[in-house]
Symmetry: C2
Subunit: 649 residues, 2 copies
């Protein structure tokens, strides 16, 4: 039988298959699992792939695909860009065995693709990117005008009112050919009004892109931005490939300290990961990698150091000093990033050892530093940072709040992937549980927003007491003892995905949540005390990050995750850190503001605040040991079982 | 028998030898030939080596060595620095067979080492290098002052009145360890008052060096300069390792055009060569390579392009446009130079396709551009550049004059190496020849200064007529016909080095010299015409380059190499190009002047000057077709045989 090779990008895996085989089947054979809720019937529209080459060997667009366009589950625009459904796309006739079929599997089509937050609050700003392109037409040299190529270009730029600029010496090498190929017409890319970083043949002035990157401890997202108008053209994202070296920052830093080539490896991992993001974002939007002329980066201070290959050792040792605070500009080629080699990589400044460029990004994109409203903001990723302030000044502290809310350290915790329980309600009388999962798949575990809901609902149903103990007095099959620890059955085995068993929340899980929420609450409260503001003086609360976006604000308040501020003032601001990177990419003024934010934001080291211990302990209660801290919840609390005992304690 | 290993640097060759063997013998065994005029008797003092390690296995300093110090052929200072004579230095007792003996063979001790010009005219200048070092003592960070490391340093610099500076991101990586190792005392190196390029533990403020490099087509010289006082501390030099790719620039450019990886290879060759020079200069002066913080480079435009890995193709095609004119600053690490990786490499600007940074160096170091004296200067290397001007402006042209004066294309031509005939006189009556050779060795050939002397003397003796013909009418065994071409026997076989045979000057050799000198003379004369100056208006003539330094000024005038200007006004200025590199290294003002020189010097393309052909043809005569151009020689000429015939022609 005649066979043809199918190559899958960006994985690079390939397989020889014969006629009649679908791309979905071919993918499965090489170990790439595509989303396919309908099981390959062409009705869910999830298994999208992009045909890059070899379409001649494939069948034409099917009725099923066109039908999905009709009902809005697929679109003509995508079809025009080469998208198809892997289950419906088949090897039809093999006319030329040498012609390879190349398909790209976009991240959204991969099974288990994580819900990664890509959008954020959009504030107005002055569009003023640091990348500018100039098309210049030059006179040809002659024996009486043998001016050197570069000086010829500089004269051409002068006619465009561009005065003295420096040049990246890397552009010189190909310059003679570039100019002659374009018949002395060329396009000059200038960074920051001061350095020529690219010279291209002909008129390419409309092709300029930038990449804004948010390096999270767990997820990394890159936003490809058109630098003509600041619009998002595509997104690439991955799980942070440093995870194998440690789930949290301290483990990764320890890895660097304990292994001679640790920093080298862990840096290589993130650089390789970013190159995958660049591939993905570029191939989705049909942009050449060389057309990316600038990259902005945010991330916590550890991610910042590991990305720049800076020794992170002293971030983990008191007094936790970073190597540097201010923003860094460095050539993409020096870091190994596969964009235009002369692209500038701008790493935003950090505030302190535990408060990084991601926090600068949050403050930057939410305009807290510009507005008079007193704002309390938290960004909960793997770490939790808390900011309080306004245009006068901002104070910030950091807490190790995160892992529990990302599903780590919980018996059935998981990330926000398909099958994760994300909403929970419990009927107080019957303890019957209602829930929903991401993509409505059979439940596999609980993600951050699900656990907050579940704990709040268990508390309101009396299953959990104010001190966090599961109430042993309640008689219900859902409350049981397992290996000498109480647990609450959230979902029975018959409803869960095969092999998972009962999904439970254990006593230890609740302790994890108590520690995390107590850290966030007490951090906020200590900042408020220092600022001498009370709940009523807070004009708004911003919840940033994926967790802040998806949690139920009321549930979060019920467990006492943030102070008792009216829900109307609480707003999710999405991936505000990533938006900060984007703003710094498209606005010179914002980039300058970021430096001022890093310099002026006051860092509070919680561990040396004298009131921290007391605050932390009382915040372990639901919602708090001092119930008058939560007047809006007081009535609800008083109805709870065990209330009178707690008051006595 | 017990053996010990002897390692020879910079070659890296090694050999196991037993007691009683001298270093000279060991060197011979591994194929390293040392200068040893006395044959190993310890009387000539030539076979110097530097003992780097393993001195314990060697004999003590001998009477012979001390005696040479007495008579001035060796010095106590050198002995103190580890120098010894290879012939007198012996393996005495082998106490530890693991301890290796490491010796460096300096270039001057190698047999056949070329006479490479390293010194030049020294003009006064303001000592103001771009490299500065600051020793700063910093307070240790605490939990209440956890300022990042870099910001801590910047504050320390402020106390030294150093304000905002940029930082090379490469310094960040090791910064935390550097600061803590030095107990928060460190030394900061700043380039150009604007960028931190190195931070070192403790106080290293007195250790700062720079390297000034002259990349000639044939020879490459590096001057290691102490940036505390601008003094020369050592010199490293090599033959240009690009020579295998072509003796002249056009052949090397052609190699780049015809071979896909040609530019890559030819660039690699010069970079590797420079790294050898760095090794040599550093090991001689006991300087660490990391202590070199800046490098300045001069060279002709082709050498400039090949060093920077710029496409040289269009230098060889009309209208001969370089890629760029202005000076280039680039990090040593980006070029592959093994100094401090963050050292700045400053490549001086070029003037035109055939007038490079070496010419800028000549103008710079001789102060022609500053002074009111009308100066005619020529720099004769493989190419010959001619400059005319003063502080008002300077005009320059280029001629392909060089190869003959470097001994190329002549039957017995050779470079200025030991055994080369460098001085010649011929008795007109007997045609008896007196000569001297470099290092007084038996003659092997004729170098540039020798050939100018020889031709001038042959002309004055009537052996050569004014039109350059060897006079067939003279009867002498020295004038003979060989394969239908006349030749003059300069040295008979019995006096020459074995295997060389008679050393002759052929009719074709004289034609080569005529072409070369005619090019130089007519270039100078055309510049003078354009400037409307005559010989009497020229205040001085500078002869730059090795050839310009070693030639006999009168002989040069007799053959008509430069216009008839009194010898009292003619001065050799040594390696003025290299001196220009040195000045740009130690003086910011000079570096700025270099840019102005490159911008303002007017380039004259001789081939499009209408008078060039006529001038060139008449300049083929000795000293010139129009004898009134050389009034000072007129009387001598009139005495010459064949004079009356020539006047008729």
């Amino acid at each position: 039988m005649q066979c043809v090779k199918v190559v899958f990008l960006p994985d690079g895996k390939s397989i020889e298959v014969g006629a009649g085989i679908s791309i979905l089947e071919a993918a499965k054979k090489v170990g790439i699992t595509l989303e396919s809720v309908c099981g390959g019937k062409g009705t869910c529209g999830k298994c999208r792939i992009i045909v890059e080459a070899g379409a001649g060997n494939l069948n034409k667009i099917t009725k099923e695909e066109l039908n999905l366009v009709k009902i809005g589950k697929f679109s003509q625009e995508l079809l025009d860009r080469g998208y198809r459904l892997a289950c419906m796309t088949k090897i039809e006739k093999i006319t030329d065995t040498d012609e390879r079929i190349v398909v790209t599997v976009p991240i959204e089509s991969r099974l288990g693709a994580q819900k990664i937050l890509v959008e954020g609050l959009e504030k107005e700003l002055k569009f003023n990117p640091l990348i500018k392109k100039y098309f210049v037409e030059l006179p040809q040299p002659t024996l009486s005008d043998p001016k050197p190529d570069l000086e010829r270009i500089l004269e051409g730029l002068k006619a465009n009112n561009v005065d003295f600029v420096e040049t990246d010496y890397k552009i010189f090498r190909e310059l003679p050919e570039v100019l002659r190929k374009g018949n002395w017409n060329c396009t000059v890319t200038i960074w920051n009004d001061k350095e020529i970083i690219s010279i291209e043949s002909g008129d390419t002035s409309k092709r300029k892109y930038g990449l804004a990157v948010d390096i999270g401890t767990t997820t990394v997202v890159g936003y490809l931005i058109d630098l003509n108008d600041g619009k998002l053209v595509s997104v690439g994202s991955i799980l942070n490939p440093q995870i194998p070296y440690g789930e949290d920052v301290v483990t990764r830093i320890t890895y660097c300290i304990q292994n001679e080539d640790g920093l080298e490896r862990i840096n290589r991992a993130i650089i390789d990961g970013l190159n995958k993001i660049i591939d993905e974002a570029c191939s989705k939007a049909n942009v050449k990698k060389e057309e990316i002329y600038e990259i902005t980066i945010v991330g916590n201070t550890a991610m910042h150091h590991l990305f720049l290959k800076l020794n992170p050792k002293f971030l983990a040792l008191s007094p936790f000093t970073p190597v540097l605070r201010r923003g860094v500009d460095v050539k993409a080629r020096e870091l190994g990033l596969k964009t235009n080699p002369n692209a500038n990589v701008h790493v935003l400044p950090v505030i302190a050892g535990f408060v990084g460029a991601d926090t600068v990004g949050v403050i930057l994109s939410t305009d807290i530093y510009k507005e008079s409203e007193m704002t309390l903001a938290t960004d909960i990723g793997t770490n939790g940072e808390i900011m309080l302030g306004n245009k006068d000044y901002i104070e910030v502290c950091s807490t190790a709040a995160g892992p529990a809310f990302e599903g780590a350290h919980l018996k059935h915790g998981m990330r926000g992937e398909p099958g994760a329980i994300e909403k929970v309600s419990i009927k107080p009388d019957t303890l019957e549980v209602e829930y929903s999962t991401i993509d409505n798949l059979p439940p596999k575990g609980i993600c951050g927003s699900g656990i907050v809901d579940a704990v709040a609902q268990m508390f309101l149903a009396g299953v959990v007491l104010r001190n966090g103990n599961i109430n042993p007095a309640i008689e219900s099959p859902r409350i049981r003892r397992n290996q000498n620890m109480l647990e609450f059955v959230l979902v029975w085995e018959n409803e869960t995905e095969k092999g998972i068993g009962d999904i439970v929340i254990t006593q230890r899980d609740i302790r994890e949540i108590q520690l995390a929420k107590a850290a966030l609450y007490s951090g906020a409260k200590i900042l408020m005390k220092r600022r001498q503001v009370e709940e009523k003086n807070i004009d708004r609360v911003y919840l940033a990050g994926a967790f802040g976006t998806y949690i139920d604000k009321l549930s979060a308040k019920v467990i006492g995750l943030y102070p008792d501020i009216p829900l109307s003032k609480v707003k999710s601001v999405g991936n505000a850190a990533g938006m900060g990177a984007k703003q710094a990419l498209i606005s010179r003024e914002k980039r300058e503001d970021a430096e001022a934010i890093a310099r002026n934001t006051r860092y509070l080291e919680l561990t040396i605040a004298p009131e921290f211990n007391d605050e932390f302990i009382s915040a372990m209660y639901f919602p708090h040991a001092k119930i008058d801290r939560f007047p809006s919840l007081r009535k609800k609390c008083e109805e709870l079982p065990g209330w009178s005992e707690i008051l006595k304690s």
